[in-house]
Symmetry: none
Subunit: 209 residues, 4 copies
Amino acid sequence: MSVPAAQKKGIRAAQKEARPKEIVESALAIFARDGFAGTRLEDVAERVGISKGTIYLYFDNKEELFKACVRETVGAHIQQTMQMAATFEGSTSDLLREIFRRVSATLSKPGYRTILILLISEGQRFPELVSFYHSEMIGPGIEGLRAVIKRGVASGEFRDTGLSDFPMMLMSPVIASVIWTHLFSKVGDFDFNAALQTHLDTMMDGLKA
Amino acid sequence: MSVPAAQKKGIRAAQKEARPKEIVESALAIFARDGFAGTRLEDVAERVGISKGTIYLYFDNKEELFKACVRETVGAHIQQTMQMAATFEGSTSDLLREIFRRVSATLSKPGYRTILILLISEGQRFPELVSFYHSEMIGPGIEGLRAVIKRGVASGEFRDTGLSDFPMMLMSPVIASVIWTHLFSKVGDFDFNAALQTHLDTMMDGLKA
Amino acid sequence: MSVPAAQKKGIRAAQKEARPKEIVESALAIFARDGFAGTRLEDVAERVGISKGTIYLYFDNKEELFKACVRETVGAHIQQTMQMAATFEGSTSDLLREIFRRVSATLSKPGYRTILILLISEGQRFPELVSFYHSEMIGPGIEGLRAVIKRGVASGEFRDTGLSDFPMMLMSPVIASVIWTHLFSKVGDFDFNAALQTHLDTMMDGLKA
Amino acid sequence: MSVPAAQKKGIRAAQKEARPKEIVESALAIFARDGFAGTRLEDVAERVGISKGTIYLYFDNKEELFKACVRETVGAHIQQTMQMAATFEGSTSDLLREIFRRVSATLSKPGYRTILILLISEGQRFPELVSFYHSEMIGPGIEGLRAVIKRGVASGEFRDTGLSDFPMMLMSPVIASVIWTHLFSKVGDFDFNAALQTHLDTMMDGLKA
DNA sequence: CATGAATGAGCGTTCATTCAT
DNA sequence: AATGAATGAACGCTCATTCAT
């Protein structure tokens, strides 16, 4: 802060700023593999190439580290998608497909899949995290979806099914695919995208007027 | 020895026979709350009103207890449903609705919901369990669903969508509902059955010829 | 005691009388294999074909069972040998050889070897047992040996070495052989009797006048 | 890093280097008192003034700690003695006496006596340890002794008794003395050195031509 | 007399957390 | 800022011992 120049910010400082993100990334991988209780901070540290003690310079304890993993990984995606939806000019069918494309593109990345799985696995132990997630991410997302359905009904594209009361169900094929992949990708092969696309087509047909 | 066997089965024997089930039920609850690694066998024992050591009279170790929880809870349900499907006489739409009704009735019970959540949470740490599950439960279930879809297409009720390649996706709304309930039932209310029914209606419409 | 006839003493009674011995024999084997702390009473019971609880009908606890093993296994041997020595008529060399023959014959039996090893292994935890052993078995034995040496010196067969002050050392080759066999019988072969005999010859030569 | 290394080695580093030896010494004492299975690592730790967990920073588990006790305590002694024997210039009698002097000096120290007792007590449970011992320590020792006997026979000092086939028996008085001391030192007094010396004299006389 | 289900204290081992360096 | 040695609480598992049957 009181340091004269930006150049002065040397390697050390750069390292220091990068640390939390490095740790979170490492932790995410280990949490995903071993679960919360099963994760050893030593493994997390080793993956970053630092010592166990160093983690405690950046995070109060294991629980806070876990929360940071969840919080800092999802972020902007939902907002971006909602903005896109608000200004979309084509048909509502195309809008819905675009939304599915984005959401599934995000959730098909291992990192994000991990978050979902972790939330399911450990949610009960971290109620604040769940309600944070619900209010900050899921809630707005649901409202966005509801708006899209209403847009389709208003334009005469969709029938007025009760689905606008449960917009989150639109995402069920995405969620099911993620879980299927997570559980059985080693047991048998499963074409995530083809399965999803097929199901979406059926669902869209069901929505159409 | 020379005593009539039926009367002889005293309190002790009755207790002994009941123990495994009691322990599994208790374990199911605690595993669901705390995850596999987070579960303390002492908690499991206390819930049954026995001592820690007693668990080891019936299960070799924590892992075997966990497996028993999964194995002994699901079992017959899938087979029953498949038999029903094989002999069903009404329309395929009605058959599909009946299948959904059964599956969701089962999965809406806390005990069975727990199994699904546990499988998602701990699957990665128990590959044998997952593949056991996949081959014994899920695989047959998928084949059953595929047969139903084909029945509908053959009878002219359903269009020939690609969904017969991914029959498991038919279950996605059930799965999503279970997860939604698990995660957010404390945060906000969610009418499991209404949500499911609404989504199913939409999906069925999508399937119809 | 107040029972009319000897025949009346049925199978049950015979069993009951035999039990302690059976248990001790089994325990001896397990103690020898696993040491005191390492021995599980369940293993002892299983070897006899009874249940764990039954042991407690005959022995107060594990420690008492161990003591019984040591106490009841040695018995008459020393006394017999001393009586033989007192009435022996040949040369003292021959007497000494006969003593060695008897002692080593006894200690080469696995059961008796076991006692010696157990005493060495666990003696420190059972001081009473050690002093019982010392006063009842070892002490008289030493006095017997001292008498033999003095007999040899008196008759002019042996020189008057200081060995009469440490008669127990005469037994050292026997003890060393037992231990050697115990430790290394699996590693390499070792002719217990030949080794012993050879050493004794040397020692006897050393004693001769 | 840029600090002169020798001075840098602070208290911590010094402690860390000393730890394994401290722990082994403590463990040796407790193992000797309680046997392998009977030893509580907490007791070992307490004796050093550290916590139970610290032991695991230096040894993988109880068994490895036990092995370390055996390995790190004997080591160089045999080699030193053998080198001495190879270059000894006096009579073979004197050489043999010198060997006895060294071996018994070593084994009369409580620490080394402990090792022998432990080996006898726990050998059956640690076959690798026993065979390690046999090949690395005992085997060479025996060959050394055999060479000495042959040297004596060659020089005409000793008769050609069969003892060169069982050289280990030469050590039997030492072994017997150690065991006697271990078992009965509390029961009665026993002059280890006098007993040994007397017996050796007898034995040497037996060897002489 | 015998059983064996049940107990509960105890120990080996792990690991989140601390703190002197 | 970073380390890593040390801690100590916690937990899985074992087994001597008890006691209802």
